[in-house]
């Protein structure tokens, strides 16, 4: 299939394709980080993860409308407020959900799946009732649109760069929160031994709520960022859920590094296959490979061998 093209063209295309893979990687990491915290660290199967993302997207939509109407001078930078608000809104809803629902279910992980599925139905209908069944268009400041041309063929999408930078910032942020802050230490202590953590004076309920809210908040930021590349509608969250869970499981549920590694592996596999095969088959093959590897190595990519 390459016979018709010059080497420069091919080189450019592979560079572009590599970049496309990196964008996909960032998107996956952004999608999965929140879930990796909630599912990987807390063991809660949050089927409403996609709906938390969409909440972030709707918050961004509202922000864009309000800013455009009332303070158009700030439109160029509204996206940053929007992301912060998305984090707060999704995090607050997360805390509420943890308090009213999840905290009763820590001993029954499979039941969290059912309850959060119910929650996702309710959220979907809520979005539909509030924002209408149709997709909404989120208008973006001009500097976020378009691309930077490097050569004739190589053009770097600005929103791609934005997503990559954002992912990096959030990943570093999560690393610091979980591994360098007191809250993170407490979180990990609670995850490893709830009773003991309680005994040494950690307020486990508070830690749970904060951790869950953090995961949801990150989902909210992800949703906000995805308004640049995807659709915002009541059921759009459903599109992400299977991929997201597979990424987290494939990475080894308890390992954040694993989540990042698996995002990388899956995104590269998918974008390479998409290039050589047709879209649907690439998707099927990627999923099959992931499932196949998981069957051979159920603990995922990254997992510590531990004494039981």
């Amino acid at each position: 299939m390459f016979a018709d093209y010059s080497w420069t063209e091919l080189g450019s295309i592979f560079a572009m394709q590599g970049f496309a893979g990196l964008i996909l990687f960032s998107v996956f990491v952004l999608m999965a980080l929140g879930l990796a915290i909630i599912f990987g660290q807390m063991g809660v199967i949050n089927m409403a993860h996609g709906e938390f993302m969409i909440l972030g997207a709707y918050v961004t939509y509202l922000c864009s409308n309000i800013v455009e109407t009332y303070i158009p001078s700030l439109f160029g930078i509204y996206f940053f407020f929007a992301m912060a608000l998305a984090f707060v809104a999704a995090g607050a809803l997360g805390a509420l959900v943890e308090w009213s629902l999840i905290r009763h279910l820590y001993k029954r992980p499979l039941d969290t799946l059912l309850a959060t599925w119910g929650l996702s139905l309710i959220l979907q209908q809520a979005y539909r009732s509030i924002f209408g069944a149709r997709e909404v268009g989120v208008s973006l400041p001009n500097w976020l649109l378009g691309s930077v041309p490097l050569t004739d063929i190589i053009e770097i999408p600005i929103n791609g760069i934005f997503v990559m930078v954002l992912t990096l910032v959030i990943a570093i942020g999560v690393y610091f929160i979980l591994f360098r802050s007191r809250m993170g230490m407490q979180t990990r202590a609670v995850v490893q031994n709830r009773v003991m953590a309680g005994a040494v004076g950690i307020n486990t309920e508070k830690v749970d709520r904060h951790t869950f809210a953090l995961g949801c908040g990150i989902a909210g930021i992800a949703g906000s960022a995805f308004t640049m590349i995807g659709s915002t509608g009541p059921t759009a969250g459903q599109l992400y859920i299977v991929d997201t869970f597979l990424i987290v499981v494939f990475g080894g549920a308890a390992s954040l590094l694993g989540t990042i590694a698996s995002s990388f592996a899956i995104s590269q596999a998918q974008s390479t296959m998409e290039f050589f095969l047709s879209g649907s088959m690439a998707k099927v093959l990627t999923l099959l490979t992931v499932v196949g590897i998981l069957m051979l190595r159920p603990e995922g990519l990254f997992s510590l061998k531990i004494r039981r």
């Binding site: 199967i45 139905l121 549920a253 649907s280 992931v290």
Partner: protein
Amino acid sequence: MTHVKSLLSRQELIGLLVVAALIFVVMPLSMDIFRLNLFGKYLTYAFVAIGLVLCWGKGGILSLGQGVFFGLGGYCMAMYLKLEASTPEATAIQSTPGIPDFMDWNQITSLPWFWEPFNSLTFTLLAILVIPTLFAFVIGAAMFKRRVGGVYFAIITQAIAAILTILIIGQQGYTGGVNGITDLRTLKGWDIRTDEAKYVLYYVNGGLLIAVLLLSQFVLKSKLGRLLVAVRDKEDRVRFSGYDVSNIKIFVFCFAAVLSAIGGAMFTLQVGFMSPSFVGIVPSIEMVIFCAVGGRLSIFGAVYGTLLVNWAKTTFSEIFPELWLFGLGGLFIAVVLVFPNGLSGLYRSYLAPLVDRLISRGGSSYPPEPASPPPDLDGEANAKPAE
């Protein structure tokens, strides 16, 4: 009578009779054929829910991919019916007469090899049972031998459901794509679309459901039934009692798969088509929810749970089309939070003692803990309590 006794306690016998009466007497008398057909469709989901009671409620294996097996059974049946509906005479207008219409639209000029055997009803009926079993066996063997369990199993089965859906939709020349296999007419020349046929199919479906209930009851009453609970609670202990735990899990997963497939085949017969929308993630999760609402530990509960959720879905969506998802979502949350043992839990706490008092002469009592399987009221262990 002793056989019945060892298989069903009095409570369970009554439960079974009530289900049978509901299916065979109450519903047909109180509904027109339209509603009855609808009810029959719901009952096909009950097959899946019963399988989930064994697999998930008893054995602790949550599969989010039961739609796969429901779909496999349904598609096998649909392939046979479609071939019967695609006689060269009926499809004379196609460029290639004698093959299903959707193949003709996709430039397929001869019947694909894997469709060939579905010309035979015997093969089809066997395939409905065997193909899902084999598929479940392969998945089960791969996962359970490597001790993949719990949440991981759930998510992998969910991914399998997603993959199969994409495949079916993508290979529309062979599968009918997103539209599914539609316009099914006759079974061995017998028109399945008439009201009379719908009655017959409804009763066949009901009969099969009772048979499946009895079969499941047999499994649950056997030592295997207790082993399932044991595996759920203390998998290692079972293993260190000399059992190959993976085989037990594979068995129950295959068993649940076969039940789902039977449901799927009956669905195709009663509804008249099959499409990928019954294979994917959403229907698979819904089926788990039917089971949960019924009370995940009771096979009778599963039947009622399925009926209740579907009835609620239909009714809510007729009365409040814009609001019914709130109701449905709320129901799921309520089931998990407030009634974790579902309908059967409610029955056990409120109705069962009453029924017990009515039917027994004060002999047996019900256990306080609903999480346990029904005790052997007439078993030897109880007959001669130790002194």
